[in-house]
Symmetry: C2
Subunit: 243 residues, 2 copies
């Protein structure tokens, strides 16, 4: 099927504590885009200052051997997606990112290029959220109102990036991350949620999904106890639609 071409590198967070931008995943990035890809289309819509965001990303990817075209500098964003050799959607505010992707009518073309034509898709944080079923499990503040929370749908489950374990010493009384995801699963017909800790990433190659990085992930399934997965785990079963 069409899904066989799908190639995704979905990163929980762009910057790990104590490191530089994308440092902790740079070897995975080079392995993912490989030597075939020379230019990567960057989508900076999740942040307000697109120029400085594009500069940050351009500098980093140049150091890894790739040129970057930022979609906000393209005369025709849809055409930029059509021509891209690889795409990277960066983090920031997930609501702003999703709304802007809809405003520019880019959702279905990104989906088609990734699923049908095998365009390599890298996402970080908000850019990971928008690759899934929906952004219902973002951590971000709803600073704008998108036309729907449905996302690109490159996967049949949701991701919670920056997944955070409860802090036993915290005196803050807001919901823990796990409590928030459990509230999501109180709603009917909600898909699985993969809680990707900072330092983790998910690599999808066709029908195979592998957990990379150093910190593991916690999987939430409606009506079931959460399950822990260690780095290196084969998560291909997540690519099958839930019954």
């Amino acid at each position: 099927g069409a899904m066989m071409k799908r190639r995704l590198l979905l990163v929980s967070n762009s910057t790990l504590h104590g490191g530089g931008y994308l440092d902790h995943c740079q070897q995975h990035i080079q392995h993912f885009f490989g030597k075939q890809v020379q230019r990567i289309l960057f989508v900076p819509y999740a942040l307000h200052d697109r120029d400085s965001y594009a500069k940050l990303v351009r500098d980093k990817f140049r150091s890894l051997g790739y040129e970057v075209d930022s979609i906000h500098e393209a005369a025709d964003p849809l055409q930029a997606v059509r021509k891209a050799q690889g795409i990277f959607i960066g983090g920031g505010n997930t609501f702003r990112l999703l709304k802007t992707l809809y405003d520019h009518n880019l959702m279905s073309e990104i989906k088609r290029r990734v699923l049908v034509e095998g365009l390599p898709y890298m996402g970080s944080s908000a850019g990971t959220n928008v690759s899934t079923v929906s952004i219902h499990t973002t951590n971000d503040m709803p600073i704008v109102y998108p036309p729907t929370l449905a996302a690109i749908g490159l996967l049949p489950f949701n991701i919670n990036p920056h997944y955070l374990d409860p802090d036993p010493n915290s005196k803050h009384m807001g919901e823990t991350r796990e409590q928030r995801i459990v509230q999501y699963h109180e709603e009917p017909d909600t898909p699985r949620v993969l809680g990707l800790r900072e330092g983790s990433m998910l690599l999808v190659e066709g029908e195979k999904a592998t957990l990379l990085g150093s910190t593991g992930a916690r999987l939430f399934t409606r009506g079931q106890a959460p399950a822990e997965y260690t780095p290196g785990s084969d998560l291909s079963f997540l690519l099958t639609e839930q019954k």
Copy 2:
């Protein structure tokens, strides 16, 4: 004007670390509802288990001298709002709460009863969010999709409940609360945001607003530096629409 009747007690959080449900604000609750009010209409829509939520609230308010009617037990929720002597909207998930208020067509009747007829309105956390201009500054996960993020509009500004100062020792790389609110103010025509720390509450009596509690608040205004307010501060200037 109509605003002169407005009476609001807006609590950041229902439970302070180490205390019981609503313990930290119980004297303010008794002072707010006073002796005239005998029965309070409770809105449990922010949590999934409405029965146990109503029991928690009923037990607490009985100990303070008030009977509680939970709106989820009413045959006609709109009629329950029409007849209420006082209303308390509890915390939980703000998206679920707002969507349910719209689903039951309660928004404009609550607004009318509070602003025109002086119905005393108490909110906690999500119940505080929905009293403001919009829920764009909630901390909650968008587990459902309301028809709009516009809220009841009892005030001309927004509140961020559970406001949290940055933790200098944190290694987590998600945005701080202040960064999230600054991102909101990157969007055009966004109102002020009062960051109410846990342990703080806002009392509004007509045209007078007072910061109560023990922890203070941080005010964010688009294009200006944030400002700190200590407990007891007169915040009546917030009740004036921004130019």
